[in-house]
């Protein structure tokens, strides 16, 4: 994937985390739903963030996932 794609994933998953935290604090949805959202979005955001700042600006697909 391209560097910008990782950045987009970081933003989307961070938005999901914020919405889940807000929903949990206001009690807008059942308690388990924000937890499930965080369990899905947190690893995605962490790994995408790492992959984003790991990726180079000058090359194509980094990290190399070919062969």
């Amino acid at each position: 994937m391209k560097k910008n794609t990782f950045l987009a994933v970081v933003f989307i998953s961070a938005a999901v985390l914020c919405i889940a935290a807000y929903a949990a604090s206001t009690g807008a949805c059942p308690g388990w739903l924000p937890v499930v959202a965080v369990m899905l979005a947190f690893p995605t955001s962490v790994l995408s963030l790492f992959l984003w700042w790991n990726a180079s600006n000058t090359k194509g697909d980094i990290p190399f996932t070919g062969y």
């Binding site: 985390l17 914020c18 889940a20 935290a21 949990a24 604090s25 308690g31 924000p34 937890v35 965080v38 369990m39 899905l40 947190f42 690893p43 995605t44 962490v46 790994l47 963030l49 790492f50 992959l51 700042w53 790991n54 990290p63 190399f64 996932t65 062969y67």
Partner: protein, 280 residues
């Protein structure tokens, strides 16, 4: 909610650094600075990353995400005062991720680590005995009920010491450089972690930091009770230092001895629970 989770990751990494520092000081070495594991995680996240040719790509990548996800779930189980059975499920899933980590890379060292992970499943049996004992003593498996029980009857660390010892052994079996850390022993390079490098290793550092934080936290909650946050952190730190002492003084056991030791402890605990259950 998110702030607590991120704080738990950083505190877990800091605990790992303190663990390494204490072990080093006991062994007469200067040791790394206590924030070394935070730096390690950042360092790994900037390292060149790819997927080995021999790896099973989906498993190799997703097992890292699953490792973070299950301990994030474990964090919220404890945070919300949820059921110990859910925490036991997180432990079982952790065992599967350990196994998957080793198998996914295709490396022989990783596979040895994965096999040892299955062998050391005995380390989870004392946890099962602890959970059963908790129900016999407090009449509930909810962490919130158990902390309320302690507010009335006093810390279970004293009245149910064998169960505390069993959970202590479970946490010890999950510590780095401990007597039961056979899955990442140096004779098999880094065991099941060998081929996970760069971003993948940084992700695993995050997952294991959460794991350490959750385990120390749940021990204090179950056997000392609910404390103010600063006192809770001090209690967790003291628990960690005691674990570091054992890790520093004890050589790594052979896989067979590690399993045998944990099985014997579980046997003793089962006897204790039976006596407890019969005598009321």
């Amino acid at each position: 909610m998110i702030l607590q989770l991120i704080s738990a990751v950083f505190l877990g990494l800091l605990f790992h650094g303190i663990h390494r520092k204490v072990i080093a000081r006991i062994q007469g070495r200067p040791g790394p600075p206590v924030w070394q594991e935070i730096l390690h995680t950042l360092k790994f996240s900037f390292k060149q990353t790819w997927i080995p040719k021999t790896a099973s790509m989906p498993l190799y990548v997703f097992i890292v995400a699953v490792s973070i996800a299950i301990w994030a779930g474990g964090f919220f189980v404890v945070f919300s005062g949820g059921s110990l059975l859910l925490l036991f499920a997180v432990f079982m899933l952790h065992k599967i991720t350990e196994h998957g980590l080793g198998l996914s890379s295709g490396s022989p060292y990783g596979k040895f680590g994965a096999i040892r992970s299955v062998m050391s499943a005995a380390s989870e049996i004392p946890l099962f005995a602890t959970i059963a004992g908790m129900y016999v003593v407090t009449g509930s498996l909810m962490i919130s009920d158990i902390t309320r029980y302690q507010a009335i009857h006093g810390p279970l660390l004293i009245s149910a010491f064998p169960m505390a010892a069993a959970l202590y052994l479970v946490i010890l079996s999950k510590m780095h450089y401990g007597p039961f850390s056979i899955i990442e022993a140096k004779e098999i390079v880094s065991g099941n972690l060998t081929e996970h490098f760069g971003v993948w290793r940084a992700g695993l550092q995050v997952a294991y930091a959460l794991k350490t934080f959750v385990l120390l936290w749940v021990f204090v909650l179950l056997f000392i009770g609910a404390l103010p946050w600063w006192l809770m952190l001090i209690a967790m730190l003291l628990l960690l230092v005691s674990l570091s002492f054992i890790c520093a003084f004890t050589p790594m056991l052979s896989p067979f001895d590690a399993v045998a030791f944990e099985t014997v402890v579980t046997g003793i605990l089962v006897g204790y629970i039976l006596v407890l259950g019969v005598s009321g």
